[in-house]
C-alpha cells in the first residue's frame, strides 16, 4: 500500500519515492538510472547515453536552473558530428568532436541557457586524409546502359566524406546511389570546408552541365553541405549511338583558390549503345 502525506503519494506501490519536496541526509548506494537519448537532452535526467548513428543536432529541455545532467556520447567510428543549440555555452570553446570517439559531457542549467564542458576519451579518430582514386590510364569505372530514356549516371562526392556511384533507376539494372568508397574522398567526416573541381578529361561524351554541380570551378564540399555530383545525361534513343564514355578529372583542395591541390582522381562513366 502506498504511503501518502496529506493525500499525496510519496512512496508508491513500486517503492518509488515521488513528489519529494526536499531530501536531506546521507546516501550510500544511490545512483542515477541512465536513460537513452537520440536527440533531446533533458536536464531532468541525471545520466543519459547516446550512440550516434548519423550526424545529429541535439535539443535541450527540462531546463530548470540548477539541474545537471551528464551525457555519455559515443560518436561512432565514423565519427559522426554532434551539433548543440546556441543555448549551450561551452567552457572556453566547444570541444573538437573529431578528436575523440567517446565524450563525457556535463550540462548545468542556468534557466535560460546551459553551461557545458566535455572530456574526450580514447578511440581518437584517424588523422584526416583527403585522397581520390583512379588514374588517366585506369580511371575508376561506373558501367551501365540505357533503359528508359534518358540515361543518367555519374559520380557523387558527398558531405559524409564518401564517394558514391550514381545510376538512375531507369537505366538497365540502374542501382541508384551506391557506396563506392568510405576511405576516399575523405577517410573521416570532413573537419573543415574543402573545395572540389570537376572537369571533362577525355571520352566520347561530356558531363552534363544541367544535371551536374558546377563544372570547372572550385565549389565547397563540407560536412553539412550539399552533395557534389557530376553526371552524364543522354537523351538519345538507344539504337542511335554506339558505346560511349566520359572520363572526368576530380580535384580537391582545402582552399577556394584551388591551391594547393590535395588530391586528384579520374572517374569514368561507361555506357553501351545499340548502334
Amino acid at each position: 500500500m502506498a504511503i501518502k502525506i496529506s493525500n499525496t503519494t510519496i512512496i508508491d506501490d513500486s517503492k518509488a519515492f515521488i513528489n519529494i519536496s526536499n531530501t536531506s541526509g546521507i546516501y550510500g548506494d544511490l545512483h542515477a538510472s541512465p536513460s537513452v537519448t537520440t536527440s533531446n537532452i533533458s536536464v531532468s535526467n541525471a545520466i543519459q547515453t547516446c550512440i550516434m548513428t548519423s550526424n545529429q543536432t541535439f535539443t535541450m529541455s527540462g531546463g530548470a536552473e540548477g539541474r545537471t545532467t551528464a551525457l555519455l556520447l559515443d560518436t561512432g567510428t565514423t565519427p559522426y558530428v554532434p551539433t548543440f543549440p546556441s543555448s549551450v555555452k561551452w567552457l572556453v570553446a566547444e570541444p573538437i568532436w573529431a578528436n575523440a570517439r567517446y565524450w563525457q559531457i556535463t550540462f548545468l542549467s542556468r534557466g535560460t541557457y546551459f553551461t557545458a564542458s566535455g572530456s574526450g576519451f580514447a578511440g581518437a579518430s584517424p588523422t584526416e586524409a583527403v585522397t581520390l582514386d583512379g588514374s588517366t590510364s585506369f580511371p575508376i569505372m561506373n558501367v551501365d546502359m540505357l533503359g528508359i530514356n534518358p540515361l543518367e549516371m555519374g559520380w557523387r562526392f558527398k558531405p559524409d566524406g564518401n564517394v558514391y556511384k550514381w545510376q538512375h533507376p531507369n537505366n538497365v539494372a540502374g542501382n541508384g546511389e551506391t557506396l563506392y568508397s568510405t576511405a576516399t574522398w575523405n577517410n573521416i567526416t570532413p573537419s573543415q570546408t574543402y573545395y572540389i573541381k570537376a572537369s571533362n578529361y577525355s571520352g566520347s561524351v561530356n558531363l552534363n552541365v544541367q544535371n551536374s554541380s558546377t563544372l570547372n570551378s572550385w565549389i565547397a564540399l563540407s560536412a553539412g553541405g550539399p552533395t557534389r555530383e557530376f553526371n552524364v545525361y543522354d537523351t538519345r534513343t538507344y539504337g542511335t549511338y554506339g558505346d560511349e564514355n566520359c572520363v572526368m578529372k576530380i580535384e580537391i583542395s582545402a582552399n577556394s583558390s584551388g591551391s594547393p591541390v590535395l588530391a586528384t582522381g579520374y572517374y569514368k562513366v561507361d555506357y553501351n549503345g545499340g548502334a
Binding site: 508508491d12 513528489n19 531530501t23 546516501y27 548506494d29 542515477a32 538510472s33
Partner: protein, 127 residues
Amino acid sequence: MAIKIAGTEVISNTRAVVNMGSIEGNYTNFHGSVTAITTALDMSKPMMSVTLSGATTFTASNIETGKVALLMMDVTSSGHAPTWPASIHWPMGTEYTWDTTGITKWLVCFTCWDSTTIRATATGWGA
C-alpha cells in the same frame, strides 16, 4: 517502526531509506557517505577516500551503466604511484601524472559507461 510497502521495508528503524525503486524530487543537504578504502574501488560507493602509503594497485567492482563515484586520493608528498585496472579509461587515452611536483591531492571522478568500462577524469591540488 519501519515502513514497508508490500512487505518490503522502505524506511528502516534507523531512518535509512532502503530498497528504493526510484526517487523523483528535490534535495538540499543530501550527500554521499564517505568510505575509506585501501585498494578496492566500489562503484556502489558514491564517495571514497584513500591516502596512499606506497605504490598501490586498485581494483574495481560493481560496474553498472550510469553509476558515478568519486575518489579523494592523497598521494602524499612522496608522490606514491597508483595503478588502475584496465577497465578505467582516461581522457584522450592519457593517464594523469599523479606525482606531478607540488600536486598531492586528487579528486577522481569515475563514470561507468557499461558493465566493463569506466571513464575517469581527475583534478589535482597542491594542498
